[in-house]
Amino acid sequence: MTMAENLPVLVVGGGPSGLKAALDLAELDTKVILVEKRGELGGAPIRWKYKLLAPELRPSEEVMGPLLSSVESNPLVSVHKDSFVDACDGPAGNFRVVIGKNEGGGFVERRVSSIVVATGFEHFDARVDPRYSYGRAPNVIGINELEGMLKEGRVVGHDGKAPKRVAFIFCVGSRDRATNPWCCTVCCGVSIKQAIEMKELIKDVQLYMIYMDIRTMGQWEKLYWDSMEKYGINYIRGRVAEVYWTGEKLLVKGEDTLVRGPFEVLFDMVVLAVGIEPGPGTKKIAGTLGLQLNENGFLAPRHPNIHTESTREGIFLAGCCVTPMSIEESLAEGSAAAMAATKFARKVAPKVGV
């Protein structure tokens, strides 16, 4: 092995895709510097406390547990939590990076052969679209918040009572010119998974999925079938115009397009399938590393069909910072980025000291 191959790889973002990239690199005997802006690793599944993963409803610990413990215990991975990449210069193959610690915690300088960017996503903030009354009316929550409630095994309204009738509203902040025009690809499946979990938890709850199209891709389709066939979950095709708090319940207004009739029905709880959008961390790293963003604010790969390659040599992309995707896809992209970084180090990095 040459010295150059001993230069570490910088991985930015400690979610499923970044963790997988870091672990694969370490298992290929490459040193890794993992920079995560938050105080904990794991990304969205840990932050929002996912209990079960779509599509098979397996415990999320089965995926996240081994990933986290292997990364944290691997001597080749140096983890920088509460940190950010402050600057990057020098040639691809021998970048100089400056890593800063949040709240004035100082800076360190490192040399790295290449960089994997895996800065993930943020949820659409439903307060931006006032029609859903999110943040104003009680008992209107996002699918991200429901994950944690399901994990605790306690889904209740603000009065502490289990809801009897719940509406899930799909495509909140997605597929909408006024907010984000893209489809977040997983929130149909995630919402349906959560509805099934809710039905298991509260046997007599009545659930209504208000959707435009159901996009349970590939084998996630099974969730959709099971929800109807085994759990009696109802589907109403339409888009919600308004959620209104009557003082006791939530009045949901929309059109049932299958009967061409407007509906105004009372619910105890409304769950918003809030979309996936690029967060400020992605915008920031794009600025620091000189990467291009596409018109939606996601990191643009050099070629739209090849996610791994960024617009800059020696910088690779993985996961939801490129486009919305599932955990299974994020993990695969993490591995792909690790492979690209390994190939690159062998080919391009200067053979220092040989």
Partner: protein, 115 residues
């Protein structure tokens, strides 16, 4: 327009969902798979009666019965018995609903509710 081909449906507001008819249909020997229906309309597209008679729409009947839309169920009473039980809908249904059987079940349940 969506419910019955060629007919204009006057606007009306739905204020509640009522699944009592659905539960009765489910309990009928031929209506057990009604919950599988995802409203693709393949049954209606294949139905020879629907082709001739715009008030007859198995896809729509199933939905109205499932959600308990009272006005729609009322209207359905006049036409649900037009079904000839030819079974073409059941042949094409991708979800195994057996719409032909469900028509029979809905008809029976409406008749029972009347008596």
């Amino acid at each position: 327009m969506s419910g019955r081909w060629g007919l204009i449906v006057l606007p009306r507001t739905i204020n509640d969902f009522d699944h009592s008819l659905l539960e009765m249909v489910k309990a009928h020997p031929k209506g057990g798979h009604v919950g599988n229906c995802w409203q693709c309309g393949n049954c209606t597209a294949a139905c020879p009666v629907a082709e001739k008679n715009p008030t007859f729409n198995p896809r729509y009947f199933i939905y109205a019965a499932k959600m308990g839309y009272e006005q729609e169920v009322k209207k359905m009473k006049e036409s649900i018995y037009l079904c000839t039980s030819c079974g073409r809908c059941t042949e094409v249904c991708p979800k195994g609903v057996d719409p032909s059987g469900v028509m029979e079940a809905i008809g029976t349940m409406i008749r029972k509710a009347r008596s």
